[in-house]
Amino acid sequence: MIQSPFWRSMRQNPLALFGGLVVLLLFAIALAAPLLPIRDPYSIDAGAVMEPPSLAHPFGTDELGRDVFSRVIYGSRISLWVGFVSVGIAIAIGTFLGSLAGYYGRWVDGLIMRFVDVMLCFPTFFLILAVIAFLEPSIGTIMAIIGLTGWMGVCRLVRAEFLSLKERDFVQSARALGVGHFRIIVRHILPNSLTPVMVAAILGIAGAILTESALSFLGIGVQPPTPSWGNILTSGKDNIQIAWWLSLFPGLAILVTVLSYNLLGEGLREALDPRLRGSR
């Protein structure tokens, strides 16, 4: 895994390193949130409702007097969780269908790729909205639905990798040795096609975090009192005339997080793709 051109390219890309660093930091914060010396994100304080940012409440308080700073910190746990699980689902489906299409070709390929075309033609956000609203809105539903509507890119990537890899000598010789289809797919081709999938996954996490925040903002995502960046923004909108801090800080958190994942993902893409290496 640790090839020297890869690391050289990464070292020359300070933005990607910065993104990676912030991603790690966000991870640490999310995991350690219960241990941090911050207020309880659920504790209601009737005496401190809608207070602007101060030393005691760096991001102010919301309509129930809860500390917005700790709600934003706890919101990062939701975002990471949704990001990873939904991308995991998308990768699983995309890899499965993509390898079938690429390996078997012919009508299997035709059928799967037409299905991909149809899925890509949907205004995805409409579909997500329709499904989520008909189900009970919950974090599990969100993760499932973001995953189920986000696998098409991965499917195309994996298929393309399979198409070129299956003609290569090492696959042909495995076949000549009588290795079964399943084993060829899983042990020989798949491991060689995972690099672009990894990059797509990191960029996908960023997209999933954005979608989750939009859904929670519309009130059909993570439900209060569980803090998520999107639903804090909803109360920001409801109190737009009086409390700017409810709108500003959660959005900044989304921006920084998504930006970091994108920088890391793009950096990895350049570092892993010999054609792009040194092109910057």
């Binding site: 933005l15 037409r114 299905f115 075309d117 149809v118 899925m119 033609c121 949907f122 205004p123 995805t124 956000f125 409409f126 579909l127 909205l129 329709a130 499904v131 609203a133 008909f134 189900l135 960023a206 954005l210 925040s213 939009a214 903002f217 519309l218 923004l233 920001g236 909108k237 737009i240 005339q241 700017w244 709108s247 500003l248 959660p250 959005g251 989304i254 921006l255 998504v258 930006l259 994108n262 920088l263």
Partner: protein
């Protein structure tokens, strides 16, 4: 040319039916029914009354029968009657909302093109210049920024703090009493923020795409040839390169339609604009099957029209496609 377009058009038809079929199945398989929503509102409803409603709406028939019934009606552009208390035809509701959404999206698409194409071309003509680097930065931020958040910030700044622009809706309360210029300004001022903000997301994407396409073209041999002919750099870039670089960008524009439609849900919710997005949101919330199904169909239709327009404009600007047929 004609053959090419007919072929592209025919390819869209199965796609369209695939989309409506998936929408139909997804919506109807989801648990919870509109009758439950009605029953929640009216706890005195008897089991009998419920049953009557179920058969009235045809909810007791098997799924494939309902879909074929829906299809038969759809052919005559009849999406049925909305489940909501006003019992109006879905088509009438869509007719009110659609022009508003199309207007806003068309304006923002126009804005995207007018701004993104020159920016992308300019920065590709001077790669790694200060301008190009700030474009890259802008693109990264544009991709990462939740546009609904940006909308909130813009509202706080321009509508709450500065009070320059109205906070929501399409018309002021005193619209009827305004003079003509007053009316025009009223509409414009209500549209500024929604249009600017829904353009923002696409702006980053398209300028980056334009830059990439332009860089690709600048590497071609005919550009070297044009340069060696002694043409000025200006002519090389803006006459020879730009035209060819626009080709793939045209396609992307057509493909960006689903994103714009999806985004309208959020923007119309934030700015309280009575368009398709808001209609869809309310339909989804009240489990109004015919309405949701109707809007999904129209959305799919618009997407396919976007695809087709992309194909057509591609064929218009690129003679290779017109003659060769296959892409």
């Amino acid at each position: 040319m004609f053959n090419y377009l007919v072929r592209r058009f025919l390819a869209l038809i199965p796609l369209f039916f695939g989309i409506t079929l998936i929408s139909f199945v997804v919506i109807h398989l989801a648990p919870g029914s509109p009758i439950d929503v009605l029953a929640d509102l009216n706890p005195k409803m008897t089991a009998e009354a419920k049953q009557r409603l179920v058969s009235y709406y045809g909810l007791d028939k098997p799924l494939h029968e309902r879909y074929s019934q829906w299809l038969r009606r759809f052919v005559s552009l009849d999406f049925g009657v909305s489940f909501s208390p006003d019992r109006r035809p879905v088509m009438a509701k869509i007719k009110e909302a659609l022009p508003i959404t199309i207007l806003i999206n068309a304006l923002s698409l126009l804005l995207i093109m007018v701004v993104a194409i020159p920016i992308g071309a300019y920065s590709a003509a001077r790669p790694y210049s200060a301008f190009d680097k700030s474009l890259t930065l802008f693109v990264y931020i544009g991709f990462a920024i939740p546009t609904f958040w940006l909308a909130l910030l813009a509202l706080i700044l321009f509508s709450v703090q500065l009070e320059w622009l109205p906070i929501s809706g399409l018309k002021s309360l005193d619209y009827a009493r305004l003079s003509l210029p007053g009316k025009v300004w009223d509409t414009v001022s209500h549209l500024i923020l929604p249009v600017l903000l829904s353009a923002f997301g696409g702006l980053a994407g398209l300028s980056r795409y334009m830059r990439g396409s332009m860089l690709e073209v600048m590497r071609q041999e005919y550009i070297t040839a044009a340069r060696s002919k002694g043409l000025s750099e200006r002519e090389v870039v803006y006459k020879h390169a730009l035209r060819n670089a626009l080709l793939p960008v045209v396609t992307i524009l057509g493909l960006s339609v689903p994103g714009l439609i999806g985004g309208s849900v959020i923007f119309e919710q934030i700015f309280a604009i009575p368009g398709m997005g808001r209609l869809f949101y309310s339909g989804v919330m009240s489990r109004d099957y015919p309405l949701v199904m109707g809007i999904l169909t129209i959305g799919a239709f618009l997407t396919l029209v976007g695809n087709l327009l992309a194909d057509i404009s591609y064929a218009v600007v690129d003679p290779r496609i017109r003659r060769g047929g296959q892409r």
